[in-house]
């Protein structure tokens, strides 16, 4: 008994520590991923709000004329709407990109602005603008 090795006990201790550590590491990694996701979403929301406000201001400055507003932004428009496309760093692109902003007139001097990533039904930000006649 006296001469029995303590190595198996040490091994068991180490394995238990490793298992505990693995559990905590998994929790930590999940938290890191969640933090990164939250930060990314916050950044996307910030950019989406800014671009929605910009689009609304362009539309208002063009006296609620979609075509004129699109021309100011250097893009083309159809009868009632225009789309802006952005890459992952929110730089404006000519074709479809990572993010899309759509400004659509909804009657009564109003326009609905939707900014989304992939699915328009899951917008990052929506804004309703209303043009008020000057003077």
């Amino acid at each position: 008994m006296k001469g029995k090795s303590r190595t198996p006990l040490f091994l068991i201790e180490t394995v238990v520590m490793l298992l505990l550590f693995s559990a905590f590491a998994a929790i930590c990694l999940r938290l890191f991923a969640a933090a990164r996701q939250t930060s990314r979403k916050s950044s996307e929301l910030s950019h989406a709000v800014s671009w929605a406000q910009s689009a609304a201001d362009c539309w208002k400055s063009a006296d609620a004329d979609v075509s004129l507003a699109a021309a100011i932004l250097g893009i083309s428009a159809d009868a009632e709407s225009f789309s802006l496309y952005f890459d992952k760093d929110w730089r404006q692109t000519a074709g479809a990109g990572e993010f899309t902003l759509i400004l659509r007139e909804d009657g009564d001097n109003g326009a609905q602005i939707v900014v989304f990533k992939a699915d328009p039904s899951e917008p990052i930000f929506t804004l309703r603008a209303k043009a008020v006649a000057n003077g």
């Binding site: 180490t14 693995s22 930060s39 800014s50 910009s54 689009a55």
Partner: protein
């Protein structure tokens, strides 16, 4: 044989310890990387987006007849916001000078240097473009890899004082 078994156990123990240490380092490195990414993103957002919000708020508060103009002071891009206080005309200048956004409030006829103002925050570049055809100001703020821009509609149009 027993000696060899003891050596094997010790090696296994050392190997597990090594894996344990490597895992700790990996988790620490992952955490540090995430923290660095988040703090960098926040810093870039803070500088460029805060500057944009600041300028936009100033512009909106001065959006009255003859209140806002854009141009240059001492070769620096600048926005001028006019205010009448007891029959005296004052101007709030917001401009980019030597890698920073500056602000100066003084009488419209006062002479000054760009360095006389108060530094708001460091920015790589700022530009203001007043589109007179549509009363729209385009503000572009650049901070390292991050460029943020905003269009602001000035309902009252450009002031003709400058």
């Amino acid at each position: 044989m027993r000696k060899n078994a003891g050596l094997f156990d010790t090696l296994i123990g050392l190997l597990i310890m090594f894996i344990f240490t490597a895992c700790i380092l990996l988790v620490l490195a992952g955490g540090a990387r995430v923290y660095k990414g988040i703090s960098e993103e926040l810093r870039e957002q803070y500088s460029s987006r805060t500057a944009l919000s600041y300028i936009t708020a100033k512009l909106r508060s001065s959006d009255f007849e003859g209140g806002v103009s854009a141009g240059e002071i001492g070769g620096c891009p600048a926005l001028m916001m006019y205010e009448q206080i007891e029959s005296e005309l004052y101007v709030m200048y917001i401009y980019w000078y030597e890698g920073a956004l500056w602000e100066l409030f003084c009488g419209a006829d006062d002479e000054f240097l760009p360095s006389d103002g108060q530094e708001i925050m460091e920015l790589v570049s700022v530009s203001f473009e007043f589109r007179e055809d549509s009363s729209l100001i385009k503000i572009v703020c650049t901070q390292e890899n991050n460029t943020a821009q905003q269009y602001v509609h000035i309902r009252s149009g450009k002031a003709e004082r400058a």
